[in-house]
């Protein structure tokens, strides 16, 4: 399944609604974008997703790492 935010084929269903058949929730295993089937197309549809919040290859490369990973201590 295509992730609406990063356009990679890396999304999967994580749950169907525990009560009734109301909705399902999906997650992208690459960028962790999460959405519910009942949300509107700017949230759920890769082609209509709000471009201000899209992720590209470049955005992944530029992501800050917080907090930084410290050097290993010797013997650690």
């Amino acid at each position: 399944m295509i992730c609406p935010r990063c356009d990679r084929d890396s999304a999967y269903k994580v749950v169907d609604s525990p009560v009734g058949e109301e909705w399902s929730v999906f997650i992208c295993e690459k960028c962790f974008y999460t959405w519910r089937s009942t949300e509107d197309e700017e949230i759920t549809n890769p082609e209509k997703f709000d471009p201000r919040f899209k992720l590209t290859e470049e955005s992944f490369e530029k992501m800050l790492c917080i907090p930084p990973i410290p050097p290993l201590k010797s013997g650690g």
Binding site: E22, W23, F32, W35, R36, F53, L64, P67, P70
Partner: protein, 475 residues
Amino acid sequence: MPYTDLREFLSKLEEEGQLIRVKEPVMPEPDLGAIGRAASNMENGPAVLVEKVRGYSQKVVLNVHGSWANHALMFDMPKDTPIKEQFLELSRRWDNFPVPVRYVSSTPVKEVKVTKDINLFELLPLFRINRHDGGFYLSKASVISRDPEDPDNFKKQNVGIYRLQVKGKDLLGIQALPFHDISIHLRKAEERNQPLPVAIAIGNDPVLSFVASTPLGYEESEYELAGALRGEPFEVVKAETSNLDVPAGSEYILEGEILPRRRTPEGPFGEFPGSYSGVRLHAEIKIHTVTHRIDPIFENLYLGLPWTEIDYLQAFNTSIPLYKQIKASMPEVVAVNAMYTHGIGVIISTGCRFGGYGKAVAMRLLSTPHGMPYSKIIIVVDDFVDPFNLEQVMWALTTRVRPDKDVILIPAAPGMPLDPSSEPPGMHTKLIIDATTPVPPDVVSREVELIETPPKTELWEKVLRDLQSKIKGRG
């Protein structure tokens, strides 16, 4: 009497007309976020208990801290207690810190235990808080951890509210910023390539949320501050799988560990400065055990363009520790108002021992653990100016500031990365405005005598109020 848990507090709020129940089913999106925003838009905004969310069986409560009325009730004060009186009362109770915890052996949060096939999307009624959040967040959960180099030291055990994105059935992302205490624990664990055990408490005594978002010193216990502010020891119970102490009254406890030396995308998230944070690489928590009450209530927090619930929650727990830290070495300080965007903006009222003292008070603020990264705009006013009264503060700015002498910029100082004007993220320029009256040896070019309040003013205020209420009564 202090509250033993969230439910007791909700009952009190309902009794005082400060809790509303929504009984009709609502959609997770956009209704729950909208309810949180709407409640904090209301004057004396109530807590809102949503009894039915489509697709879930659990109840959701929002805006528990979202008004000065609720804030006063949390500390067992009348709901109409003025803001400055709440500040002074809390400041008095703060002096009883530390009050040791009380351990209990059985609590309702252990009623149900899940260790297999954990799916947080089933166990918690999760929802998107703001439209462009990257996922579903726990925005009001307290995260408990211990120092891996000193695991038996109770005082180094930390309780903090950090934003948590649910990133998988048993996976969370955590925003631990470098100046947060949990980042010290995480660094020590990662230097050894070891996981860091954590417990996450959801749905708590409101005082716990207050202390968990308080910038305390590294060896100061949030639980022991909760005891001081409640007036009775805070009750804790041992976690199921670690040496961590968790709140006995919680609705849910998630137990797991931060995976060492791993960072994955997290965000964006609509944050307290009123804008979205970017997507960044943050640490991950793997959950292996969940305990909860039989019929748990999920407490979460809406935050957006100020003011929202988070601005009430972070008002005095930011102001009072800064006040105590500055006053310890500068006793002339009268009060600190750090309610603006978690202390990015601060107003300090102080007497001045000698010329330039107002500026020195501001620099003392900038050397405190919280003021150093967060505080960007610092206004210092005289001791007779109420820093919670913005009309008085504006008066001080307009009549006391000599822009060529009293406005100072300190470039390239530590900053707060969530502030969108922070450049680069995590650094900013400090602005100090000294609006105190100059005292020697500062040059006082002309004497300034304040206009005194006419005698009998207080009496006339009362007379006029009585006359006004009689007119209202006729209407």
